[in-house]
């Protein structure tokens, strides 16, 4: 599916507004949209809302063999999924330019910055290490996916707990969370990416571009930084020439934003911790905004099952009503066996009833009803002989010939010719 094209009028207006230091959603130049961080029921699951942009990160772990070059280090694996949920332009399972760019940036931001102690993830040197996998799913794309992903990924890593292990000689025991409390990862620092978009060849600069601003911008600068003001990665794209002063200014803005966001993440982590300690419910279900009219929730509800057993029994009883004759196979000619009702070749026979296994009392009733309808409808109608080669005369219920007489009108079933043999119609 294609993205809606951006009209010339939108482009002109956005640029004109930026010149006047105005943004579409009323923000100032250096403002972030509202950030909301919430955690899932699992450890290592984090949701981030950045305005309308939404992402989810989930951390998981697995025991694997280490890389030969680094036998004492655990492995970090990052995967950003551009799910088609987020934007109609994203396709499933296709590596687009954007997804490569985002994945690469996240790796540089979180793996190459050595913010996680990978040596502590080693279980048996050269044989078993933990592989930490971070999946980031885009849920809604309203611009600046990178910043949202980096916040979600680092918050999820901080929230994650891996199972405890014990090594006795050759044997490695992994304890379930019930046996031993799972262990958090050791994280040295928290790099967070901050995006700057440039307009008019770098004359104007905006923090946290939204989707429409992203489509108009000339260039993008992403700076990953931690709260100690250490730059972990810096990337400029879009082919824009930046001056040294511009980069310096951006890094100064980034340091302010990063300390704010770090604060927010720590607060969210604390809240989650206290909620978990108090034994309260946590997770996505709890973060549903109850006050909105688009949301509704109901408490646990019992299901009335008073007559369920009787109903089931009666259905089965009725279903078994047709005599369960044990059919003995008939061998009409050597090499051919026949089992089943009638035991005749029904080709060329003009009527046939298909007995369905579960045809119960209900079905019989339906058929009779239909018969009556049929009669009503065809009253006065000329009995039409169909012009297909085979006559489509169907007699319903051979057991009740007096009724069948009345219905012996040809009834057409539109569509596939195979329907001729079915007497059961959808009501």
């Amino acid at each position: 599916m294609k993205e809606t094209p951006l009209s010339a009028c939108e482009r002109d207006f956005i640029l004109k507004a930026i010149e006047e230091k105005k943004r579409l959603d009323g923000r100032q130049t250096y403002d972030y949209r509202k950030i909301k961080i919430s955690f899932g029921t699992d450890y290592g699951c984090c949701f981030v809302d950045l305005g309308q942009t939404r992402v989810m990160a989930q951390v998981s772990c697995e025991l694997v063999a280490p890389k030969e070059s680094r036998p004492n280090e655990g492995i970090m694996f990052f995967n950003i999924e551009l799910s088609p949920l987020a934007s109609p332009a994203f396709e499933q399972g296709r590596q687009s330019e954007l997804s490569v760019k985002l994945n690469r940036q996240l790796e540089r931001c979180l793996r190459n910055s050595k913010c996680i102690d990978t040596e502590s993830l080693c279980v048996v040197s050269g044989e078993k290490v933990w592989q930490i996998r971070v999946d980031v799913h885009m849920l809604n794309n309203d611009g600046n996916l990178m910043d949202a992903s980096s916040i979600a990924a680092i918050a999820a890593l901080c929230h994650f707990r891996r199972p405890d292990v014990a090594v006795q000689g050759e044997e490695v025991t992994v304890y379930s969370p019930e046996e031993r409390d799972p262990i958090p990862l050791s994280i040295y620092h928290m790099p967070i990416s901050v995006s700057f978009s440039f307009f008019q060849q770098g004359t104007y600069l905006l923090v946290d571009p939204c989707e429409r601003e992203e489509r108009v911008m000339d260039g993008l600068l992403m700076i990953a930084m931690n709260k100690h003001r250490e730059i972990c990665s810096i990337q400029s794209s879009g082919g824009i020439m930046l001056l040294k002063e511009q980069v310096m200014r951006c890094s100064k803005i980034a340091s302010v934003k990063v300390s704010e966001i770090t604060e927010l993440i720590s607060k969210a982590l604390m809240n989650d911790k206290t909620a978990r300690k108090a034994g309260g419910r946590c997770g996505f279900a709890e973060s549903m905004p109850q006050e909105r009219i688009t949301a509704l929730k109901v408490d646990e509800t019992p299901v009335e099952t008073a007559d369920v057993t009787e109903k089931a029994s009666s259905i089965i009883k009725e279903a078994e009503a047709p005599p369960p004759t044990a059919p003995s196979p008939v061998v009409p000619v050597p090499g051919v066996g026949q089992v089943g009702l009638g035991l005749q070749n029904t080709w060329g026979v003009e009527e046939e009833e298909e007995l369905e296994e579960f045809s119960s009392g209900d079905d019989v009733e339906e058929v009779t009803k239909m018969e009556e309808d049929e009669r009503k409808n065809t009253k006065g109608d000329v009995v039409e002989i169909s012009d297909s080669e085979e006559e489509e005369v169907v007699i319903l219920h051979p057991e009740k010939p007096q009724k069948a007489e009345n219905v012996k009108s040809s009834f057409h079933q539109k569509g596939a010719p195979s329907s001729k043999k079915k007497t059961k119609q959808k009501p």
Binding site: P5, S7, C9, R11, K16, A17, D25, G26
Partner: protein, 250 residues
């Protein structure tokens, strides 16, 4: 009329209520149209969201049942995706020129075609000045599920009648189709509230696109943001917000 009154009475009772897909209205057994009776039954008009299936009227969208005398019924639903309907006016974005036609995106399932000649005063020699990326306000000449939709920027007598290319200096926003219908309704209360704020120009397409232009960028942005938030507010909430804006912005 007694034969069909039964069902319509039930329908009218439900007007203003919320219905969901699968809800049915059925002619009773005695209400089936008998051939012997010569009088023609009243005819109901099923609008969007309603469908006739045999002798039943079936709801196929969730929303509020609306009624307009004598017997027009439809479901008023909030949705985002537009489905082209003949005669409706929409805002389209020109995406390409192909031979003698423009290809226009209107937010539906395929692009519509718009002929060079379907503009007021256009001839083979005198082609309209429309570029890729421009906005056009146009009407559907052909719109049905089996054919490629076709737009025109002239009415039956060849006049522009407000249609054509436009868009300089304004902002295009996307709102829900329900809001667009409320804006276009005669004596729309949202429109009346807006008029009291400050003068602005609006072009409203049935496809959920609204183009806004006010005297300044700031005012255009205010109107755009107000409109986008109207969907989730009651009348009172909206009037309160508008009042606040009026006090703050002026």
């Amino acid at each position: 009329m007694s034969t069909t009154g039964g069902m319509f009475a039930v329908l009218k009772e439900k007007v203003g209520q919320v219905l969901v897909p699968g809800d049915e209205f059925c002619f009773g057994a005695e209400e089936t149209i008998s051939l012997s009776e010569s009088a023609k039954p009243e005819r109901a008009v099923c609008g969007p969201g309603l469908r006739r299936s045999g002798d039943r009227l079936v709801v196929m969208k969730s929303g509020v049942l609306r009624h307009k005398p004598p017997l027009t019924f439809w479901i008023d639903s909030q949705q985002k995706r537009y489905v082209a309907t003949k005669g409706e006016t929409v805002i389209g974005i020109v995406t390409a020129r192909a031979g003698d036609t423009f290809r226009v995106d209107f937010g539906g399932s395929e692009l519509a075609s718009l002929s060079y000649l379907a503009f007021e005063g256009a001839t083979k020699r005198n082609r309209p000045n429309v570029q890729v990326g421009d906005l056009v306000f146009a009407q559907f000449l052909i719109a049905n599920k089996d054919m490629e939709p076709e737009l025109v920027c002239i009415d039956g007598s060849g006049r522009a009648n407000g249609m054509g290319a436009f868009g300089a200096g304004g902002l295009l926003i996307k709102v829900s189709l329900g809001l667009v219908r409320r804006l276009l309704a005669p004596n729309s209360d949202i429109r009346l509230d807006l008029e009291q704020l400050f003068p602005c120009e609006l072009v409203v397409g049935m496809n959920g696109r609204v183009w806004v232009r006010a005297s300044s960028v700031q005012q255009t942005l205010i109107v755009a943001n107000l409109l986008q938030s109207c969907d989730t507010m009651t009348t009172q909430q909206r009037q309160q917000l508008f009042r606040r804006v009026q006090q703050g912005a002026l």
